[in-house]
């Protein structure tokens, strides 16, 4: 995405000579950062509108209009912070396709809340992948927090049930549930998630406090399908954007927010446990433009 702005200066001379191809190239540049064509042309329409209305011929103004449009899309109407229940334990359910960084994100989240003096329990409901439990256990030991797990291939619903019950008994503030990676197109595995959600709701007698979809920033247009299908099954409350230390900056979240109105809540940007922060639309957009 950083390239986007560099190239914007580069193609600027076209703005005067060949306006149409300037817009075309701008659209192309946006698509290169994995923003979908629909979103890109929507943003561009607004910018064009402004440029013609105000008779703009200044690169900085075009840039800032572009920025403003993106910030406008990413901005959250309500609170973008995580929802903490007044009746602990608060429960976060973490889901996503394979290999996006669910387990690492959970370790980072747990670390963040533990530092704030919260009592955290992590629930190893990925009973499918080899060594998933051991990976989580490693983090639980480092962080010195509770973890609930069952045997391999056991029912994830039962793990979740146990986790919430234990959290209640021990006066835990926050339960974070790790689930197995699954493709959004897998009917059976999506049903399994619905069941897990039901188990939690019954145990805490309210909706799950956060259902967070983990999205890999290197993913292209398919991330939108992921968000849509997971949202249809579970009603997502937000997105964790991972691996933003890569060269991809995750432009697809702009499309996700624009099309589905699912807020981006957190981003992770490194291998260390501290490399997680709340999502800030202005900073995210500035990063694109830096």
């Amino acid at each position: 995405m950083q390239k986007l702005i560099k190239n914007l200066s580069y193609i600027w001379n076209k703005f005067k000579n060949d306006r149409e191809s300037f817009w075309d190239e701008l659209e192309e540049q946006m698509v290169t950062s994995d923003i979908s064509i629909n979103t890109a042309s929507r943003i561009l329409e607004e910018v064009k509108d402004y440029v013609y209305r105000e008779n703009i011929n200044n690169l900085e103004k075009v840039k800032s209009s572009l920025k403003q449009q993106i910030i406008e899309i990413l901005k959250c109407n309500g609170d973008s912070k995580l929802n903490i229940s007044s009746r602990p334990p608060t429960v976060f359910l973490i889901i996503g396709v394979n290999g996006v960084g669910k387990t690492t994100s959970i370790a980072k989240l747990a670390n963040m809340f533990k530092k704030n003096g919260k009592k955290v329990l992590i629930s190893a409901a990925d009973t499918y992948r080899s060594a998933a439990v051991e990976q989580l256990q490693y983090y639980a030991e480092i962080l010195g927090i509770d973890m609930v797990h069952h045997q391999k291939f056991s029912d994830p619903g039962a793990v979740v049930y146990d986790s919430v019950e234990k959290a209640k008994a021990r006066g835990t503030d926050l339960v974070i549930i790790d689930t197995a990676g699954r493709m959004q197109t897998s009917y059976n595995l999506m049903e399994e998630l619905k069941k897990i959600k039901k188990v939690i709701c019954r145990r805490i007698d309210r909706e799950v406090d956060e259902i967070l979809l983990v999205v890999d920033s290197t993913t292209g247009q398919n991330a939108r399908n992921q968000a849509e299908l997971f949202n249809n099954s579970l009603n997502l409350t937000g997105i964790i954007l991972t691996k933003t230390d890569s060269t991809s900056k995750g432009g697809i979240v702009i499309t996700i927010k624009n099309d589905l109105n699912i807020p981006i809540k957190l981003i992770t940007n490194g291998e260390k446990l501290e490399d997680i922060c709340y999502f800030d639309p202005v900073r995210f957009t500035e990063l694109i433009f830096s």
């Binding site: 698509v31 979908s36 290999g99 493709m183 890569s246 060269t247």
Partner: protein, 442 residues
Amino acid sequence: MFELLTAKFEDLFYKIRNKGKLSPNDLDSALREIKLALLEADVNFKVVKEFIENVKAKATGEKILESLTPYQHVVKIVNEEIIRVLGSSSGGINFASRDPTIIMTVGLHGSGKTSSVIKLANFLKTKYQKKVSVVAADVYRPAAVLQLEDMAKNIDVDVYSENNSDPVSISVRGVELFKKSGSDVIIIDTAGRLHIDENMMDEIANIRNKTTPHQIYLVLDAMTGQEAVNIASSFNLRVECDGIILTKLDSDTRGGAALSVYYVVKKPVKFVSNGEKIEDFDIFYPDRIASRILGKGDILTLIEKAEEVVSEKEAKRIEEKIYRNELNFEDFVAQIRSLKKMGSIDKIFSMMPIVNKSKIFKKVNLDDSHLSHIEAIINSMTVDERRKPHIINGSRKKRIAKGSGNSVSEVNKLLEQFSKTKQMLKQFSGLKGKFKLPPGNF
């Protein structure tokens, strides 16, 4: 995989097909649709540009506008272009002239290296009868070695690992050990790394220098966006990859990354990984994928899969029974079981040459549990009932429904479907083809 791109082309060609002749405007709007479809499929925008140029040049050169069959013509050109972009030869492995063949896999975090290593090991073991061993060189991710060892146990493959050592030394010692112990293939599983992390990229360059692998595969997530080309270029620059293992093709990704990578980096996709099971791994065939994109189905793969689970003899026996109208529920359940062995229903369905598949997809519930229901109903029948379905009366139906946890109407539905299928199969029995799918069941 590639479903949405296929759907786009299907819709597009459906429009063109109904016209006798193609106007210049038609061609332009077709090309625009193709361009959008490819961009939405994550094909790199540079590749898209050239792709469209080439199709247009060819379409003009071949005087497509004057053709009376413009539809076939456009399909042919797009088909050829896709195959060209994907590389015209099929994938697979090149073994070293002398054993052992050393393979190294590299890639980003979470691209699916460890699963691919195990699937590849299993593939080489079962298809080529090779003795395969694996070296665990991911010392960074917690429990990565454990994951590899656990999965390797299932397919009976040896793993070399060390505690508190560096990946380069582990790789060197592992390869030495397996060379001595007579392995035919040694696969080194490296840690996930960012292609811009200099230190980590140095590490794989070092492993490569010290172990001189015959094949280096980049493991690439099929859902990767526009960056795929840069990722592949960076890895290729540092360790010179021989090819790509494309993973997670069981998602609904349009998989444009595959098209881009070959085009820009000139490295072919060798293997594809498309499911949770160890067997969900195959050689990459560009022509099959291209015909799939064009909505012609992947009938070759389907036939191969069918041949793997149904023996020639069994197929003949069934065919004769169909011919003599003697097909019964025992055969039916056997067919369902072999169908299940071929993979999930939606996967099989996606390989079938059906026009406007995307529209049918929306209406049909491609749920494997439906087959299990049918199986349960049949399992609740007595042997006599299975062999002579006509004896099933009202009270028998009630008993079967109860025994299988279904309603009587569901039992009725199955009986009705069965007799229809029987009739249809009789009509088809003259046709060639060994695998008869019970139609109308999903």
